[in-house]
Assembly symmetry: C2
Homo-oligomer: 250 residues x 2
Amino acid sequence: MGTARYLEIAETLRQAILGGELPVGGRLPSESALMTRWGASRGTVRQAVALLTSEGLVGSRQGARRIVLSRERRHSFAELNSFAQWAHGLGLAVTSRILLRARRPAGPEEAEGLGVPEGSEILHVLRVRHLDGEPTMLERTAYAQWAAPAVEALPEECVSIMDSLARDAGIVAQYGEHLIDAVAAGGQDAHLLGVRRGSPLLRQRHVSLDQGGRAIEWSDDRYRPGSVTFSTSNSAAAAPLGRRIGDRAV
Amino acid sequence: MGTARYLEIAETLRQAILGGELPVGGRLPSESALMTRWGASRGTVRQAVALLTSEGLVGSRQGARRIVLSRERRHSFAELNSFAQWAHGLGLAVTSRILLRARRPAGPEEAEGLGVPEGSEILHVLRVRHLDGEPTMLERTAYAQWAAPAVEALPEECVSIMDSLARDAGIVAQYGEHLIDAVAAGGQDAHLLGVRRGSPLLRQRHVSLDQGGRAIEWSDDRYRPGSVTFSTSNSAAAAPLGRRIGDRAV
DNA sequence: TAGTGGTCTAGACCACCGG
DNA sequence: CGGTGGTCTAGACCACTAG
């Protein structure tokens, strides 16, 4: 079985919205129409439209037909956690370079993020990432000790650490927690990103957890001004998060 | 009928998580256990845990028991769209002051955000908002022409414009679309927020839509550095968005 | 008032995880 | 292997919206 029935229905509707056949502000087919159209039960149809609702494409109110809210594609989970996968989905070339890799005691913020005692050993990694050749993001990551050997084995130019860890070491990120704010570029930030000291940077701090809820990494990622925008939509129930480059929706 | 069955189940589990009875990293009761415990069908139980999953409290994988990921409360929809409601939930005092209210032609960004032709008339509002007396956020909002009279009728010190519009004019925001990035403070920003020119500001641009998908307002909100952080969690399916102040989770 | 979505039930088969 | 969650069906009643 390739894909589930409800995913098939959702994907077809999504394409109709993205393609403009279902215009923004217009109405979605009713559940009963979709049931006969696809020969599916109501539960399956509702699962499909619930997915689109959670993506912010569709709005829903009891008693009224669902309406199309937006025609912008949103991110999958993998894309939010992985810069490489996100950029790949946009057709942009990503290069990365690890500048520093060292074991050291966890500072207070790293310790809290990883859920380990302050001062316990972590693997610190400093990494710059380029988008189409432009330095775009600076990553300061603390890896949990149990994941450190796998990270130390990676090449300096490794494009996606998370993908490599999944492939080579069976370490898979399942959940993430993210904090987004703005900070001024420090001396190192300015130098490595090619901006002036004090420039506004968009900062995304996040922790990645594996299937069992164990913390894999805690990271402080800083984006060059204007390079990336996070986007999100919300309605009564759901609010997925996404990212943008310049004015292009992703 | 007060609340739906699945909301009751979800709320009980949520309280157990927030209260620490279901510790982070621990396992949730199985679906069948919840079915007998509540005398509910499987569908209803699944609806409850799906809600918790979408809130980032619970992680889910086929074949394995669900686990508790986090014990942080997240935002409701209303809180994401309304600064006043969000601050109120934290027990913070909000004051607001409208500095400028003028009809004028829509600029390119306002026109695109509202989905109206460039140059058509909108109501521009400039507003400062204080948290516990500190200037925290600067709002530059364009209201759609049909909503303008209701906004013009509001007092200068109106704490929550959206709440007032709902109460007095029946204009209710149902959906929102948000863009988050970082910008340098301009002259007016710096002056009104009490920061230095060029300071990094967290910017949230957003459009609010009513029940029918009509745009009510397009807004460019800028937060003083360090005052507010957006937070989000993600897993395979969902990624709700939230906000923080300093280090306090909200 | 007819149509629509929100909630709920009681079954079923399957894929996956863990011991 | 048994337990668990993922998917799907075929019904039902209700609350709300829209014309």
